[in-house]
């Protein structure tokens, strides 16, 4: 691995983790789509600030872009408050307006500078290491790595310091307000944080893929845990994993690194959706299958109990007759009987007759009473 590879991966990991941390609260506050809106509309701030200072590396760009992000949130809420449009429609109206203004401005006035539309959409993490931060002639590493590291630290500190305020205003905004924690203040402070993060990540991964890095890792983490602190740490870990896996996937198929990172975040989410121990799809299917078998076993035992000692017991309580009487397929009947047998609830007698054990008899009676 060359130094360049290491730097790119480091940047990818820092970007992904910095996005995933506020992403946890975006998901919990049901504001996932707001991150998409912000990551697009910040472009207008970047373009306008660029016209002002004529320097793409000026810190003023970050500030202006963050302000545009917060403005987006305010505009969406103002539009929603008119009660003429729903919130999702308000989001879909506001950010394309701001984004298209930015695209038009770039096409008309800034076509010859580095702000081109491809870079805007997908970023260019592979070229980021070429823009170095030099202080007094010393090379300190890629500039965007420093910017992103600062934003990551800012996110960690903000979440740590305002942890309980974010938590209570997310879970129960009414209680938070009654206690004097202004939900509006917390909301806009938090959206400012999301905006700064989106601005920082924009350079590396562009405006479309930020949303994948903000939402997919927390959404996956929520399937794997029901503890908030664990969810935050896990989101960061899954984001880092997606970043590194994305880098190598891009290397293998010679594709966009940012695109691969987002795709890997999607793969990680899909894996969690399918295989999460409790809430995964596979776990759900297995649980239902087990419940079906359990219920069938109980039905079988009640059937055996009902006919026990009767004249027809010889016919009814016969392995081969289950298909006929309970309308089970031979395969299913065998599985149910094996299950009950393994649990010591019944025994197979010679000639295919089934008999309840004392334990099974007690269990069947107990189930019937309930």
């Amino acid at each position: 691995m060359s130094t360049l590879d290491v730097e790119i991966q480091l940047l990818a990991v820092v970007v992904a983790v910095a996005c995933a941390l506020p992403g946890v609260f975006l998901v919990l506050r049901r504001l996932a789509l707001m991150s998409d809106a912000i990551s697009h509309s910040i472009l207008l701030g970047i373009v306008l600030a660029f016209f002002w200072v004529q320097d793409l590396a000026h810190p003023f760009l970050v500030l202006a872009a963050t302000a545009t992000g917060v403005l987006t949130v305010a505009l969406v809420e103002a539009l929603h408050r008119t009660r003429r449009v729903k919130e999702d429609a308000a989001i879909a109206l506001v950010f394309p307006a701001l984004f298209s203004m930015a695209v038009l401005l770039i096409a008309r006035y800034a076509g010859d500078v580095h702000l081109d539309v491809d870079a805007v959409l997908l970023g260019e993490i592979a070229f980021s290491p070429f823009r170095r931060l030099e202080v007094a002639g010393m090379d300190l590493g890629p500039r965007s790595l420093w910017l992103m590291a600062v934003i990551l630290v800012l996110n960690i500190v903000a979440l740590a310091v305002f942890w309980k305020e974010l938590k209570v205003s997310t879970f129960d905004a009414g209680l938070a307000a009654a206690m004097g924690f202004s939900p509006a203040l917390i909301h806009y402070g938090f959206m400012g944080l999301v905006s700064v993060t989106a601005v920082g990540a924009f350079d590396a991964v562009g405006s479309i893929l930020v949303v994948a890095l903000m939402i997919a890792p927390p959404a996956a983490a929520w399937l794997l845990t029901d503890r908030l602190p664990v969810m935050v740490v896990l989101s960061g870990a899954l984001a880092a994993l997606s970043a590194v896996a994305g880098f190598w996937a891009a290397r293998a198929i010679d594709a966009s690194i940012a695109g691969s990172m987002a795709a890997m975040a999607g793969v990680v989410f899909l894996a969690a959706l399918l295989f999460a121990p409790d809430r995964g799809v596979v776990a759900g299917v297995r649980r239902r299958a087990r419940q079906r078998l359990d219920f069938a076993r109980t039905m079988l035992m009640v059937h055996l109990l009902n006919h026990e000692g009767s004249a027809r017991a010889r016919v009814e309580n016969q392995m081969d007759h289950l298909q006929e009487h309970l309308r089970w397929s031979p395969e299913f009947a065998r599985r149910v009987v094996r299950r009950a047998e393994r649990q010591g609830l019944l025994e197979r007698r010679p000639g295919g007759r089934l008999r309840l054990t004392p334990l099974g008899r007690e269990e069947a009676r107990h189930r019937m009473v309930r």
Binding site: L28, K164, G174, T225
Partner: protein, 261 residues
């Protein structure tokens, strides 16, 4: 007991000429209400009567179009520490990734103020509150695994750790099991016994007489308010709920005129 300058106890809550409107649609019209300290008060009224809005207006969660609200003789924002709030159970997302103890601890946040975190002392208080509502065994349980009644008891425990003297509860009996209902009533009576004031938005008219001392009957306007014996009458309920309401029969505990022997 907090007293006003004249020496008489200040009312727990004093509402004067309160009007709340969403847009141009008034939800509460010119409400006057005095809730005395140490009382158990039920707010009743049909759906859309503005019961929840009245509580939210006291807590300054909704803007007032007109009127004045005082808590213990002061504006709410100065009396915040004296007030605990139990919102409707359905107003929060119970899939939120957190534990029972953590939700109860949220009751201490107001006292802690910004940034400070709950410590060992708050944890102990939260456990004690859970014991009071019979939920101590569930402290580490994920909140999505609770039944409706258990959720309500967790909310009640959260109100208890607020160490408030006025408790505003929005439908604490909504959809709970008999055991929870009994536990809640017991806690309410304990609170009253130590001089606290409790105000509940309440739906079940048949239990008003048994659980509460005072009642406020509301339907956008205040229909009647006062001791249950005086205000909770057939006639006032008819005014609030409209004329033909068969379920009112016998609810007030008064004989319907003409039905006697």
């Amino acid at each position: 007991m907090i007293r006003s300058e004249s020496g008489a106890p200040a009312p727990a809550i004093e509402v004067n000429d309160l009007t709340v409107a969403y847009g141009e649609q008034p939800v509460l019209w010119d409400i006057d209400l005095t809730i005395r300290q140490g009382s158990l008060t039920a707010i009743v009224g049909p759906n859309g009567a503005g019961k929840t809005t009245l509580i939210k207006a006291v807590l300054e969660l909704v803007p007032r179009a007109a009127g004045r609200v005082e808590v213990l003789g002061r504006p709410y924002r100065e009396a915040r520490g004296e007030v605990a709030y139990v919102p409707q159970r359905g107003s929060v997302d119970w899939d939120f990734p957190t534990s029972v103890l953590d939700v109860v601890l949220m009751g201490t946040y107001g006292r802690l103020g910004w940034i400070r975190r709950p410590g060992r002392r708050e944890r102990r208080e939260a456990m004690e509150a859970l014991e009071k509502v019979g939920m101590e065994a569930f402290a580490d349980r994920q909140i999505s695994q609770l039944s409706g009644g258990q959720q309500q008891r967790v909310f009640l425990a959260r109100a208890l750790v607020q160490e408030a003297r006025i408790h505003l509860m929005d439908e604490p009996f909504q959809g709970v099991d008999a055991r929870t209902e009994k536990a809640i009533v017991e806690v309410l009576r304990e609170l009253r016994a130590r001089g606290d004031t409790v105000v509940c938005v309440h739906h079940a008219l048949q239990t008003v007489r048994e659980y509460f001392d005072e009642v406020a009957i509301l339907n956008v306007r205040m229909i009647a308010a006062g001791p249950v014996d005086e205000a909770f009458t057939e006639q006032n309920l008819r005014l609030a709920y409209g004329g033909r309401v068969p379920f009112l029969q016998g609810v007030t505990g008064f004989e319907v005129p003409g039905d006697g022997p």
